[in-house]
Amino acid sequence: MYATKQPSLRIKQADLKCKNGCGYFGNADWDGYCSKCYRNQMEKERQKKSKQSQQGDHSKATSFSKFEEKKRQQSDKKTKYFLPVFRKTSSLKETGRPEKYIDIRQMNPDADKLLAEFISAYGEWGEAVRKDFLKCVQSFTSKIIHELDLKSVEELADIAQNYYQLYNNRLNNNAVYQSVTPEVRDKLLDFFERYSMVSLYTFLFCPPSTNDEEKDLSIQDRIRKLSWVNAHHLDCCISETSLEVRDLVYTAINDLLGMDSMKAPQEKLACVVRCCRSVVEVLQHCQGGPVSADEFLPALIFIVLKANPARLKSNMLYVTRFCYGARLMQGEAGYYFTNLCCAVSFIENLTAESLNMPQQEFEAYMSGEVTCVSAWESALVACEGMHQLCEHLSLLKGLSERMTAVRDDTQKLKDDMHRLKEEINDKVTSVLERTPLVIQPRKTILPLTMEFLKSLPPLPDKVEGAASDEVDTAPKYYQQNITMNQMGLSNPKPKLQLDITPCVSLPSASEVKPSLSTEFLTVASPAVDKSLDSITPDDNSYLGLSKINYDIDFSDISAENSIIEDLGESRRSPTMSFTPDPFSPMGTGCTIMQSPLVPSAAEMPRAEDPPARKNDFVLPFLEEIEKEGTSEETLLDKVEETPTICLPPPIKPTEYTGFSKQGSKIPSIPCNTGDFSSLNSTPNAGSSKDTN
């Protein structure tokens, strides 16, 4: 058996079996016997011992380890004696009150959970079965708790195994369980073990009365010292550099590590089984074929060495002691668990010889003189690095995705804005097509206009006719007012009527450039009026000189259609049309002052009246005005006197108050210039301006 032989990597199947030759799996913790034979053996020894003690012969203590165990228990009892709490509780225990195990259950959430699961399923088993089950569990747990102080953990394990056996017999023989199917019986037996062990876990796992914890620490230290051992040393074919293999190895390691977190013995055992299955998978992957038992053990040793599972010994001893013995003696679980025991015992006892390496080298490694960075270690570090790298990469990926999304959205917004612009453009164009702007001359300046027009070779009559027409009918033409508070003017409402009309020819309706603001104003003016009712033109009239209002009455436009239709003739006259820049941010208020003043030749190519083109000049550009004026001595000279004086301010309106302010003027200005009959002072204003 392994305990006696030199540890070897190659273990024959027979070596795993009970040394009694009964055919069941043996275990190092059972001195190489199977669970059953070990117990028989123990019984024999006990009887021998009691005989010996009767004879008073103490020299033949069974074994040193037994002796140690006894000593420990004695010392435990001694220390217990000095701890009052212990005294109290043990006296309590002697009374054997049943509430003790109830306490355990209450304080153990795991047991609670399990019980709830059981109760939820009891309908399947029946009330009588449930009652009997709980009775047996209580009898078992109370028995264990009674004996905790008095018996060694091995004896407690015996008690547990006996109870499992008793309950198993009861399941098969008692009348209560007659109606229960064999599968449910298996479930009940399993649950009996699970439930009672979870309840008693704190008392039975790594009990302080044993040296289990010391064993854990020593094997942990041993494995740490053996961290240099690699697959090559173990003569096992696990490739330490293959990525897939490493993943599988990690799975196996994680399975084994999970054992410490489980409470029920069968759950711990299940972890071992899972780990071993993963090991088989690793081997299958590495050698691409069926795995022989010979290759399995070295691979498992490798896994145990690399995993260094927490409290390894405690866990294995707990399973050995309190797992239903039949489970460990046969089947897959039994086989794998026995293998694990072999692996651990190999690790505990391995020498240079068992690794086929010179003693010196082995010692150098063990003492830490020589450290070798194995592929495994490097892989571990590299893996962590890779993990961080991947983490960062995924972070960057997320960022770049978000950036793309932002860029797309920006582009979309841009497109939307462009579309909106086009839309508005189209709308404005269509509106302007329906309602072209016509600026017509005023009566007061008619003589001048006529004079000027006369100087132009073609079409003087037309102009004259048109102009007079307008005057006569007091047309509602588009009116641009520049209201200035002129110093020294007695008129409370001095208005300078700036007529650009005579200067620019009216292009065909299609030529009128669309204006954003025109439509806007027409639609919004009522609201604007309302909100700005308080600001009246009269108020403005008292403002200083610098205050310049561009009163644009767009409400006229709506009314204009009919007039224009009426004045079909005049429309073709070289009256000025102004083409507001649709995209001027300042809107019509400005475009009136600016764009119409810059009716470049390009803008007027389709003007129906060639002579009118001659008058395509730019009002604010005085040079041009002067040039034309001086060269031709037209009435423009006089007409332009007004603009020359008052135009510079509009270009830089110091107190330009924006649309809303203008909007407020809308109601104040009559719908047509017909009211200029009441504004007879206008020419005066113009003349007074001239004098300025």
């Binding site: 220390t79 003790k100 999970g258 260094n308 270690e377 962590e384």
Partner: protein, 217 residues
């Protein structure tokens, strides 16, 4: 491990957490063995160590779980957070990235432990002053903002190592005295007396039950 059983009246469970390579295993080794383990192999999953200390005349057994920093073993290490009375959160003062990860470690700890768990921040490797990457002031501020105790230590020289473990124990002991820490709670991380036969089963139940949630098989 050197002391016999029952030489103590409490068991406190600690966990040590932090990035890989910050010196968690070295700190534990320094505390339990009073030695610096320069070439300590990488921890896989968890390792543990114990030592008996004395706080206010009471002997207390510290059961310390040293966890692996690697993400791959997070599932295993997480099960040990539950039922920890103290958590030592370690970073390496010479590597800023380990400091930057503290907030995620802290979140994990707060989520997986109970509210009474004492969290102690350790800036390790303070012997490497020349390579310092994180100032004392900065970490101190972080600790204050998050209500952590803080010390800079060196597993190599042993500076402040004892202090960190002992201060944590004192704070836990204080919590017990104040009644802030309920010994009967299943996962307080404190066991009054080791799991004793018949003795106050309620308090004992708080013991060895890391990862009870894993019993899903």
């Amino acid at each position: 491990m050197s002391a016999g059983p029952y030489n103590y009246s409490y068991i406190f469970k600690y966990i040590i957490i932090g990035d890989m390579g910050v010196g968690k295993s070295c700190l534990l080794h320094q505390f339990t063995e009073k030695k610096f383990m320069a070439d300590c192999p990488h921890t896989i999953g968890v390792e543990f160590g114990t030592r008996i200390i004395e706080v206010s005349g009471q002997k207390i057994k510290l059961q310390i779980w040293d966890t692996a920093g690697q993400e791959r073993f997070r599932a295993v290490t997480r099960s040990y957070y539950r039922g920890a009375a103290g958590a030592l959160m370690v970073y390496d003062i010479t590597r800023r990235s380990t400091y930057n990860h503290l907030s995620s470690w802290l979140t994990d700890t707060r989520n997986l432990t109970n509210p009474s768990t004492v969290i102690f921040l350790i800036g390790n490797k303070c012997d490497l002053e020349g390579q310092r990457d994180v100032t004392y002031e900065e970490a101190s501020k972080f600790a204050e903002e998050n209500g952590l105790m803080f010390v800079e230590a060196s597993a190599k020289t042993g500076d402040n190592v004892e202090e960190a473990f002992l201060e944590t124990a004192k704070k836990i002991y204080q919590s017990i005295q104040d009644g802030r820490l309920d010994l009967n709670a299943a996962e307080s991380g404190v066991q009054h007396k080791p799991s004793q036969p018949g003795g106050r089963p309620g308090t004992a139940a708080g013991g060895d039950q890391p990862g009870r949630d894993n019993c899903a098989c």
